[in-house]
């Protein structure tokens, strides 16, 4: 068991090293490295786009935008501060959220309802993920209670701002802010256990 974990860890480190090297080469304008980076990361980034936009043309367009941004911003990546995959995923999330906003079809539905919709499809995905940290996050979000978890999901996956969350929840801005901050503290505690 320990051996398996050690091997898995070193595989992860090697994958990370390869991504870091590819991003550094992309920063120098190396198109071949950009292709390698795409091959190693596009399934992750397309997954992010599909989660936010649903599978289809919008997700494809967002992925294109995300990689154009990766090409432009590769020189800003600092491996001592961030892991390459979370950095790349954040770029994909931002591109997808921008597209969601541009589409203008973001539901203004009450958050509880949005929560149900957002959560129905990913159940099968969650089973497929099999990753312990995914199970842990979903477990900890569950411990927060539906309302708080839904606020966090709506912000993260729909790009809703504090005022938008407040409007949709029908609560004062200050209340929403403190609810989210309390939820984040609980989430951190739960994940660090």
């Amino acid at each position: 068991m320990e051996l398996v974990r050690t091997v898995a860890r070193s595989d992860g480190d090697a994958a990370r090293e390869r991504l870091v090297a590819a991003i550094a080469a992309v920063a120098a304008g190396d198109r071949r490295a950009f292709h390698e980076l795409y091959q190693r990361s596009s399934a992750k980034l397309y997954g992010v786009c599909c989660r936010i936009l649903g599978e289809g043309q919008d997700a494809e367009d967002a992925l294109q935008e995300a990689y154009a941004n990766v090409w432009r911003r590769a020189d800003r990546f600092d491996a001592s501060r961030a892991s390459p995959i979370t950095w790349l995923a954040a770029i994909a999330r931002n591109a997808a959220i921008d597209r969601l906003r541009a589409r203008g079809s973001r539901s203004a539905a009450p958050i509880e309802e949005a929560f149900d919709i957002a959560d129905a499809a990913p159940l099968a995905d969650t089973l497929m993920e099999q990753a312990s940290d995914a199970r842990r996050l979903h477990g900890c979000l569950g411990e927060l209670g539906g309302g708080e978890a839904a606020l966090i999901r709506t912000a993260f996956l729909e790009g809703a701002s504090y005022p938008e969350l407040a409007a949709r929840a029908g609560e004062p801005l200050g209340t929403i802010k403190s609810r989210i901050r309390r939820a984040l503290i609980k989430l951190r505690e739960c994940l660090c256990r």
């Binding site: 292709h35 596009s42 397309y46 992925l63 294109q64 154009a68 501060r81 961030a82 940290d133 989210i180």
Partner: protein
């Protein structure tokens, strides 16, 4: 990192606050943002292979290198591989018949080896190279272009010292070898490992004192 800072990092990761400036300037804060992104990452869904033809669209839309942000081009110059360049230079020096060597070369070669520096500038893509020999004691540089295509523009040579700000060493000919005396204020910058770069400028060289055109070759100075 206070608790408030960590919450701000979480809000930034969630998109509820924009702390980009702090993320760029504060390493501890950037690490906290990264930790939150990693925690929240499973919400972003499982991996999914994109349609195969998407890569073609993405690579076709890439801007050409010479339309990129000019500041970026100079930061990237530090990535130039000096070892490969040095090997290439040796190959070029050996391969080149003595009869073709530019007139100043023998004088430079006759000085003591410890004072000599060399650099081979190579393009990221495509053909051509620029070999540079520099005699520290005389402040004299011999520049030897090989198979360079300046595309109708004027090649200009720059040294990029540790502060990252390029200094012009002068315009160089596209076809013929040339020798020039390096200005005294630039001599100390020509140290081991410093980056040299060649940009393509309007006729007469960069009008601004900073590179304005694409960087077509880079290389690193080595002592020989």
């Amino acid at each position: 990192m206070t608790d408030d800072d960590d919450l701000l990092a979480a809000e930034h990761a969630l998109g509820l606050a924009d702390a980009s400036a702090r993320e760029a300037s504060d390493p501890a804060f950037a690490a906290a943002v990264d930790a939150w992104r990693a925690r929240l990452d499973p919400m972003l869904g499982p991996e999914r292979a994109p349609p195969a033809e998407l890569w073609e669209r993405i690579s076709a839309r890439l801007p050409a290198n010479d339309t990129a942000d000019p500041a970026r081009r100079w930061r990237v110059a530090t990535f130039a591989a000096s070892a490969a360049a040095a090997v290439l230079l040796l190959g070029l020096l050996v391969a080149r018949p003595a009869g073709e060597a530019p007139a100043p070369a023998p004088q430079v070669a006759a000085t003591a080896p410890a004072r000599m520096m060399v650099a081979a500038l190579t393009p990221k893509e495509g053909k051509g190279a620029l070999s540079i020999t520099y005699d520290k004691s005389a402040g004299r540089m011999v520049i030897n272009p090989m198979g360079m295509d300046a595309r109708g523009r004027t090649p200009e040579l720059w040294v990029i010292p540790a502060d990252g700000r390029p200094r012009s060493l002068g315009v160089v000919p596209e076809k013929a070898a040339a020798a020039m005396t390096v200005r005294p204020e630039h001599r100390a910058m020509l140290a081991e490992g410093v980056t040299l770069a060649l940009s393509l400028e309007p006729e007469g060289g960069s009008p601004t004192g900073q590179p304005t055109g694409p960087v077509v070759m880079t290389g690193t100075m080595s002592a020989v």
